[in-house]
């Protein structure tokens, strides 16, 4: 015999991700100072932060939308645009710079016809730069879809993303 209080209702939007986001906000007791944690979670669930999502979070935390938007735009890791299927993050820290990260960046930009921070038109690849991955011992370092590889060269990076660019063949 289930009482009404124990029945888990599906989220009205029918979107499981929103339910997970709500659970995170609830865990933080809708505290306004947990905004950054909640934005991290939202980006993890949705891949990027669209305006409606920011408005939803603002509403739930009883914050002005300007404040939520302000925080989302202040921090580099929050993205307001959809990301590509694959990501390639080039470290441009000092050690990588000394060991030729600039040349890698120039080559990849030329090959993919996009600048750092952009996504290819076919939505396959997002090219990003990181300030420092802290993997200076193995510079130059590049992150392919979350996997860090060290001692990279322009050739080795271009080889890896070649397949991604050709319409997502692995």
């Amino acid at each position: 015999m289930t009482t009404a209080s124990t029945v888990v209702l599906p989220h009205p939007s029918g979107d499981k991700r929103l339910k997970m986001l709500d659970a995170t906000m609830k865990r933080h007791q809708y505290q306004q100072d947990a905004l950054i944690e909640i934005l991290h979670k939202a980006q993890e669930l949705y891949g990027y932060l669209e305006n409606d999502l920011l408005l939803y979070i603002a509403h739930k935390l009883k914050l002005p939308p300007s404040r939520v938007y302000g925080v989302a735009t202040f921090y580099h890791l929050f993205s307001l645009a959809p990301q590509g299927v694959h990501s390639c993050v080039l470290c441009t820290g000092t050690a990588c710079y000394v060991k030729g990260a600039q040349a890698i960046l120039a080559n990849v930009e030329k090959m993919a016809h996009i600048r750092a921070g952009e996504t290819t038109t076919n939505g396959q690849l997002s090219l990003l730069t990181a300030r420092c991955l802290g993997a200076c011992g193995i510079a130059p370092a590049v992150v392919f879809d979350g996997t860090v590889l060290g001692n990279q060269t322009p050739e080795s990076v271009c080889d890896r993303i070649q397949g991604w660019l050709e319409n997502g063949t692995q």
């Binding site: 505290q31 306004q32 100072d33 947990a34 905004l35 950054i36 944690e37 934005l39 991290h40 404040r67 302000g70 925080v71 202040f74 921090y75 580099h76 890791l77 929050f78 441009t92 820290g93 000092t94 050690a95 710079y97 000394v98 060991k99 990181a130 300030r131 420092c132 991955l133 802290g134 993997a135 200076c136 011992g137 193995i138 510079a139 370092a141 996997t147 860090v148 590889l149 060290g150």
Partner: protein, 538 residues
């Protein structure tokens, strides 16, 4: 938890240790070389050979020599071997050679200066214990300092002891830690906070990450001791989101410590309660500045605000707050355990103890070193680092990240301590040390750092927001060979202005790389102007 229980855990852990230990480095550098796979292969191999009774395979923290990773250390009663660049195919050979045989895998000489000059205090457990096992930390005398502090010392005595040790802030500025603690301890408030600054944003620095990945409990213990000394009950660790491994291991460590009652309420049956939460950054360099960091913890944009009031009086949510760097906290437990006099006997007159540096750039041995304060740059670069590869010569060492400067080869005999580096126009900084050789253009280095500061400026104050853009423009003009003498004069004037009128440390130190390259490598700037003059002549 009582002391005898703690000692029982340590004793049990030690008695379970098997005679042969195979340790695989699982810090971020080696992980990128598939250290995880190597560890799995070794475990499977030991199982297949039926050697589980005598041999233990464990993942440990950083073993220092990152450039030769993945590293595997084998300790047998006969001695130790450190294998380099181990692949999954090498696992079988390592197991074959456990009885003292030879392998085809190259071994690292543990007696070379890179290892022998080190004096591990902060890194004493790094590469020796499993960071994801609290028992291993307890077996290495972990949490004994906390017990001693809570049961046998007053908060005042703890502050006194830290003051006496001469420990200074390892975040780079070198403010005496004891003085900071005393200020927070004196502040009157019903709530106080302790914050660990693990927002290691300087490019070229990875010491804090290694400490968190290799020995997270050491930082928690240091924070708990600090909290007791200043009267705080809540701690925050502010970690960069770029360090997922460190975040995961910290979460594990906090969880384990809470389960054993080493964090939480009534620690060691004393009236002292202390809770630690992790706050994850979102990629803003300015958040390493303490006032901006606190704004970020409060869920706001990371904008700094003018000091005073200092965090020690009015910090997080307006309450007195103690903020120290990871490495500062990592030094606390050993100071309590071995005594302030022991710590004060290491290092130079004004800079006590050791410093961890991240050695990188154009140098043979890149990785992590911990050396006593006062070790000369020459010893670090030439003897420990093994000099520049491919026969180049070292031209300069960059310390202190974007706030620091470049130290020319002519000054390599300088002992490394806070004052000497400041006198050279650089700074200790957090501990990144990047070696540059002849092929590096110093003006371009200055431009690289200026670009960094320009991107990372939070935009609150005009000198930094506008000044960095202008300086970057001038440096770019120089690099293109289109600058005149007047541009150089303007650059110097701007440096002076930005340095003296910016609101926070980011802006105040942004001109440092330019000033220090101008000071030691002015010729390179002048040459770029010469080019322009000749161009007009034609």
């Amino acid at each position: 938890m009582e002391l005898n229980e703690l000692l029982a855990i340590a004793k049990q852990e030690r008695s379970q240790a098997k005679p042969v230990q195979i340790r695989c480095c699982t810090a971020a550098g080696c992980l990128s070389g598939n250290a995880e796979g190597v560890k799995h292969e070794l475990e499977a191999g030991i199982k297949a050979e039926g050697l589980e009774k005598d041999v233990e395979v464990s993942g440990v923290g950083c073993m220092r020599l990152c450039c030769q990773g993945p590293l595997v250390q084998v300790d047998t009663p006969a001695g130790s071997k450190l294998y380099e660049k181990v692949t999954t195919q090498d696992a079988f050979a390592i197991i074959e050679a456990l009885d003292g045989g030879k392998t085809h895998i190259s071994e690292i000489d543990l007696s070379q200066p890179f290892f022998s000059y080190q004096k591990p205090i902060v890194l004493e457990n790094s590469g020796k214990i499993d960071p994801e096992k609290i028992q291993a930390y307890i077996a290495a005398k972990g949490y004994q300092a906390l017990y001693h502090v809570l049961r046998e010392m007053t908060p005042g005595e703890v502050v006194e002891s830290i003051s006496h040790s001469g420990l200074r802030g390892r975040g780079g500025a070198g403010y005496p830690t004891g003085v900071k603690w005393a200020t927070v301890a004196k502040a009157k408030s019903d709530r106080k906070f302790v914050i660990c600054n693990a927002d290691e944003g300087d490019p070229g620095a990875f010491m804090d990450r290694s400490v968190l990945e290799s020995d997270p409990h050491r930082v928690l213990e240091g924070m708990a001791i600090a909290a007791y000394a200043v009267g705080a009950n809540q701690g925050y660790i502010y970690v960069r989101a770029e360090y997922p491994v460190a975040i995961r291991r910290l979460q594990t460590a906090i969880h384990q410590a809470q389960r054993l009652g080493l964090l939480g309420s009534q620690i060691f049956e004393s009236p002292f309660d202390f809770k630690i939460d992790i706050r994850i950054g979102a990629g803003a360099y300015v958040c390493g500045e303490e006032t901006a960091l606190m704004a970020s913890i409060e869920g706001k944009r990371g904008l700094p605000h003018p000091r005073p009031p200092y965090p020690a009086e009015s910090g997080l949510w307006g309450h007195p707050t103690l903020i120290n760097n990871v490495e500062t906290f990592a030094n606390i437990a050993p100071i309590i355990r071995n005594g302030a006099d022991w710590f004060a006997s290491i290092g130079t007159e004004k800079s006590k103890g050791t410093k961890v540096f991240a050695l990188a750039g154009k140098i043979r041995n890149t990785g992590l070193i911990e050396v006593p304060m006062g070790t000369s740059l020459r010893q670090i670069v030439e003897e420990m680092g093994g000099g520049v590869p491919d026969g180049g010569t070292a031209k300069a060492v960059q310390t202190g990240g974007p706030s620091g400067g470049c130290i020319p080869a002519s000054a390599f005999d300088t002992p490394v301590d806070y004052e000497s580096l400041t006198n050279l126009g650089s700074m200790m900084g957090s501990g990144g040390m990047i070696v540059m050789d002849d092929s590096t253009n110093m003006v371009d280095v200055a431009r690289f750092f200026m670009e960094f500061c320009m991107d990372e400026s939070c935009g609150k104050c005009i000198p930094c927001r506008v000044g960095t853009v202008q300086m970057h423009g001038l440096l770019t003009k120089l690099m293109q060979g289109k600058a005149t003498q007047a541009d150089l004069a303007l650059l110097e004037e701007l440096c002076d202005m930005v340095k003296n009128t910016s609101l926070c440390g980011l802006g105040q130190s942004a001109p440092n790389p330019v000033l220090s390259t101008l000071r030691y490598f002015r010729q390179e700037y002048v040459e770029l102007i010469q080019e322009y003059l000749e161009l007009i002549k034609d």
